[in-house]
């Protein structure tokens, strides 16, 4: 008989706690950010397609489905490291021997050579080039992601990728430089 009471007591306890937990699971559900979103925020959003996918989001989806994390040259090593942390895998060097710290660039159209073919406008993934047919085109530097996609379609090769200029706001002391002293 005591065994029976014990069973009833334990069973009812289990039922009560089960109900509480079940209620809590529904009521206090935390909507976690889907992994694709998290990966997408880490990627640099240049939309350059160098990973082989048409944009950053498709690559984020591919990573979530098990693709390699080292296919993003514009992100450099920093991005690979962050992705490795997020995905719980080992960070590895960039595929294709790309530079670990990519130089930021922006497109620059040599405007007197531009023939106004609008091909670069169509290629730009972020609509950072303005212009019209047979009119000179120009790049909105603040919007350009430096993805290189406009360079290839240009029939007259008038687009250069120039490194982003250092301003006083972005200038840094070179701490690892070896001081050069002149010996008289």
């Amino acid at each position: 008989m005591t065994l029976f009471y014990a069973l009833i007591a334990l069973g009812s306890l289990a039922l009560i706690f089960g109900l509480i937990l079940g209620f809590a699971a529904v009521r206090f559900r935390v909507q976690s950010n889907p992994i694709v979103e998290q990966i997408d925020t880490i990627l640099p959003q240049t939309q350059c397609g160098q990973c082989g996918y048409p944009g950053c989001r498709p690559y984020a989806e591919a990573i979530a489905n098990g693709d390699e994390i080292n296919k993003c040259p514009p992100g450099g090593d920093a991005t690979v490291k962050k992705l490795a942390d997020l995905m719980g895998v080992d960070a590895k060097p960039l595929a294709g021997g790309e530079q670990a710290e990519p130089i930021k660039t922006v497109a620059y159209i040599r405007e007197d050579e531009c023939i106004g073919c609008t091909k670069c406008i169509q290629a730009c993934p972020v609509d950072a080039i303005v212009g019209a047919t047979r009119q000179m085109h120009t790049v909105l530097i603040d919007e350009c992601t430096g993805c290189d996609l406009c360079v290839e379609p240009c029939p007259v090769d008038c687009i250069d990728m120039l490194p982003v200029e250092t301003t006083k706001q972005t200038w840094k002391w070179q701490l690892d430089a070896i001081p050069v002293t002149q010996i008289d």
Binding site: G55, T166, K172
Partner: protein, 748 residues
């Protein structure tokens, strides 16, 4: 609060944690009165000397300017104008090295003084108490006043604080070694500074104004106390000499026992701090109407013969300052802008003085040794003891070195005031502040990039949406419409289009043939209203019309180019092109028909073939007699698809043959023309090539059509695929022949 004010009035100060006691070295420069420098040979005035945006240039190269004349006018928020420091001519407006450790170029106005030092018209105000708040703010803004303590924050923004200010603090601490600019300014101009404070009191209406002065400046304290005697709302507070009590947050803590929250500004806790030099400039701007064009600068160091304070016009090159005070540089001389703690070594001495320059230090190697090589951290924690912001410099250093920016933020890196106390006490000579500065820049860069990435993502998504929308719109244009919707207006459209085509000046028979073919196709289409058909008929018509126009234009151009009557050859070429075009149009028509309405395939194909044949005929009629081809075509017209295809191929070949044949004949007949214009030959060859290519294309299309129509055939069921092949072979042979003929023609 009353208690706090009472405590403040009793002279109580609340020490902040940390701090260091570096040797003051102030007596080197604070014993003499402020001197005035002779006019320099040129002045380099950067447009941006403060935090915020540039003003807009309102002067031109070569323009004569008067002393105090505005060179820029404020445009965006936080932009402050700059003024001409003396009268003279603007030699140039160009990028010049700026007063920054990087010396990155900055747009500057270069003025060559004319020696007159002639003021522009000033508008002094004798009784500022009669001015409204806005008028005073405008004066402070237009006179270009920015914080002169070091950061260069636009004063008009601070003075126009939207938050209620309880304590107005005047920073006269000047805690950094060597610098005595504020000290001597207070000694000489205490009354003016107090007047400036009163203007700020009028603007901010604080409960209490506290002037904090370090106890190593007794003369300045005495002068200020004497000047402030009449105003019981101003308290001159003596604070102990400790570096960095001149830091804004440290001074607030020291004088009011309040702490600025992390990431906040003093106004959040009802406090506002102004530098004493700024207040003197405010006095000058209001009472004298003078814009900010000069400031007191301490020129000091062991390599300076006459160390002291000077009134220097903004834009005066550092070299001029050094030369005037007597300068005998040592090997590898360093010239530091600012003090030894927070200043930076100038990359060049050809940099102009700006509004925030308070000291030029030219030390020899004994007084300010080059930092030795960095050694390993021994975890002595001297830096943590010295830190006035209660941070963990050692910890921050590790994170900065390993670029762990999240950790740095967690450890409140952005509360670091970069005072350099940690680096000063470090026995391992680790340049801690430098690490923090680099890390701060990198974090800011990352944040900016994050924002940029967000924007790029948004723009990318928007673009994708736009492209999808466009594609949908395109598809809708071609979407099949229900037959019921068609009918009346649709028919009207077609009729209009036909009328348009017909009304066009009929130039050649080929055109009418095309029109006829199209008309036939249309009629057929209209007959079967129940069928669902793509509604691109009028588009096709328009295209045909466009093509016609293009062809006409080409003809005209050719005519004008050769400036001769259309001779036989030319007409032959034109005919060939026309033929090819007609063929293509007809083929596309038949193609269209066969795919969309399989029931009608045969008829359409036949019609197309007829149209083609007719077009050819017409063309040939225009060019020369070529009757056999016509008869061939005639035999071909009896309707069946395969045959039609084969016949078309043959006709094509014939036509091809005809074109060069014509040219050959013409060559024989009119040898003068050939010899006179060998270019015509070439033209003919080119035309033939074009015609060939077109014919090839048409043949392909026809083959496709004929394959589709195979099953509906009854007559030529015996060997239909063979027939197809035959047609292709025939076409190939025809092509080869045409080529050969054309070669012969060109040879002749």
């Amino acid at each position: 609060m009353e208690k706090l004010i009472a405590q403040i009035k009793q002279g109580k100060v609340w020490p902040f944690p940390g701090g260091i006691h570096p040797p003051g070295q102030k007596t080197i420069s604070n014993t003499q009165a402020i001197t005035r420098l002779p006019l320099p040979g040129k002045l380099v005035v950067p447009l941006k000397q403060h935090i915020g945006a540039n003003g807009q240039l309102i002067v031109d190269k070569g323009q004569q300017v008067l002393k105090g004349q505005a060179l820029t006018k404020p445009i965006a928020n936080w932009s402050v104008p700059v003024h001409a420091p003396t009268s003279g001519i603007i030699n140039d407006i160009c990028q010049m090295p700026s007063a920054h450790p990087s010396a990155l170029p900055e747009l500057s106005v270069i003025i060559e003084p004319d020696g007159q030092d002639q003021w522009c018209e000033l508008a002094p105000v004798t009784t500022p108490s009669q001015l409204s708040h806005e008028q005073l703010i405008d004066i402070i803004h237009d006179r270009g006043i920015a914080g002169m303590g070091g950061a260069g924050f636009p004063t008009y923004i601070k003075a126009d604080s939207r938050k209620a200010i309880e304590y107005f603090i005047v920073n006269a601490v000047e805690c950094e070694p060597y610098i005595t600019a504020d000290d001597v300014l207070m000694r000489e101009h205490a009354a003016d500074i107090i007047a400036g404070i009163e203007i700020m009191q009028q603007l901010l209406t604080p409960t209490l104004t506290i002037v904090g002065i370090e106890d190593n400046k007794p003369e300045a304290i005495a002068a200020m106390q004497a000047a402030a005697e009449h105003n019981d709302k101003i308290i001159i507070q003596t604070v102990p000499t400790i570096y960095p009590s001149g830091g804004e947050k440290q001074l607030i803590k020291l004088l009011t026992n309040k702490e600025v929250p992390s990431g906040g500004i003093p106004a959040d806790i009802g406090v506002l701090v102004q530098n004493v030099g700024t207040l003197f400039a405010v006095h000058q701007a209001v009472y004298e109407g003078k814009p900010l064009i000069e400031r007191v600068i301490t020129v000091t160091g062991n390599t300076i013969h006459k160390p002291g304070n000077v009134w220097a016009l903004l834009g005066t090159e550092i070299k001029h300052l050094l030369d005037c005070q007597g300068f005998s540089p040592v090997p590898q001389q360093r010239v530091v802008m600012g003090g030894p703690m927070m200043g930076f070594t100038l990359p060049t001495v050809r940099i102009g003085v700006v509004k925030t320059t308070n000291c030029i230090l030219a030390p020899d190697h004994d007084e300010l040794a080059e930092p030795g090589p960095e050694k390993a951290c021994i975890r002595c924690s001297a830096c943590a003891d010295a830190c006035p912001a209660s941070l963990l410099p050692q910890q921050l250093q590790w994170f900065a070195k390993s670029k762990e920016y999240d950790k740095l933020k967690e450890h409140n890196l952005f509360d670091c005031i970069e005072c350099g106390a940690c680096a000063y006490v470090c026995p391992s000579e680790i340049p801690l502040v430098q690490y923090y500065r680099v890390a701060k820049v990198e974090i800011k860069e990352q944040q900016a990039e994050q924002v940029k990435a967000e924007r790029a993502k948004e723009r990318f998504e928007l673009r994708k949406q736009r492209l999808e929308r466009e594609q949908e719109a395109r598809q809708n244009r071609h979407k099949r419409k229900p037959a019921a919707e068609k009918s009346a207006d649709e028919k009207q459209k077609i009729a209009d289009a036909l009328a348009r085509v017909k009304n066009k000046p009929a130039k050649g028979d080929e055109k009418s043939a095309v029109a006829a073919a199209i008309a036939r196709a249309k009629a057929k289409k209209q007959n079967q209203d129940t069928e669902l058909e793509p509604d691109n008929s009028d588009v096709a018509l328009e295209r045909a019309a466009r093509k016609e126009q293009a062809r006409k234009y080409k003809e005209q151009k050719a005519a004008s180019n050769t400036a001769a009557d259309p001779d036989d050859k030319k007409s032959a070429v034109a005919a060939a092109i026309a033929r090819a075009k007609a063929k293509k149009a007809a083929a596309s028509e038949s193609d269209n028909e066969s795919t969309s309405a399989p029931a009608d395939d045969k008829k359409a194909a036949v019609a197309a073939a007829i149209a083609r044949a007719k077009a050819k005929k017409a063309a040939q009629a225009v060019s020369v007699e070529n009757d056999n081809s016509e008869s061939e075509v005639a035999t071909a017209s009896p309707a069946d698809n395969k045959k039609a295809a084969v016949a078309a191929a043959i006709a094509r070949a014939k036509a091809k043959k005809a074109a060069p044949a014509v040219s050959v004949e013409n060559d024989d007949a009119e040898s003068e023309i050939t010899t006179a214009s060998p270019a015509d030959d070439k033209k003919a060859a080119v035309a033939a090539a074009i015609a060939r290519a077109k014919a090839k294309k048409a043949a392909k299309a026809e083959q496709a059509a004929s394959v589709e129509n195979d099953n509906s055939e009854s007559e030529v069921t015996t060997a239909s695929p063979a027939d197809n092949k035959k047609a292709a072979v025939a076409a190939a042979i025809a092509r080869a022949k045409a080529k050969k003929l054309q070669q012969e023609g060109s040879d002749q």
